[in-house]
Symmetry: C2
Subunit: 84 residues, 2 copies
């Protein structure tokens, strides 16, 4: 594997898990006042579009990574809507 | 342009601007209590790795999109560190 590919896979993996602490924090503390609903709705749209892109070009790494990202960000948006 | 490419460019564009409202909110309200520092540090690492990936494969759209993303997320992390 080339260094570039290694960096790319690492970025894809990290991008999948990085929002889990935020989702956990929002649901466990119910403190979502500092979270921007607009940013998170736009980011939800972003990862949904990446998921659609992955489906259109049949790219499994993009499909898998963005399925997890959509779920994590949906969890954050749901917490924001419930505890705002 | 194919529909897939259009979706991909739209996702890339939206991913670049989506964190501007969060950065603005954090600095204007100084309310960052609900923001997860861990998630934002991991996401900062993620977009930094994508930027490095873009540089390694000499892909300008990836370089440009992730340069803006790094700046926006740095601004959020800085607000969280200052107003936590």
């Amino acid at each position: 594997m080339t260094p570039a590919l290694l960096v790319g896979y690492l970025a894809a993996l990290l991008g999948t898990v990085c929002w889990i602490p935020q989702a956990w924090k929002a649901w466990s503390t119910r403190d979502t006042s500092g979270i921007s609903l607009l940013s998170n709705m736009l980011f939800l749209t972003t990862v949904s579009l990446w998921l659609l892109y992955g489906l259109l070009v049949a790219d499994w790494p993009i499909i898998i990574a963005n399925t997890f990202a959509v779920l994590a960000v949906l969890t954050i948006v749901a917490a924001k809507l419930k505890y705002k």
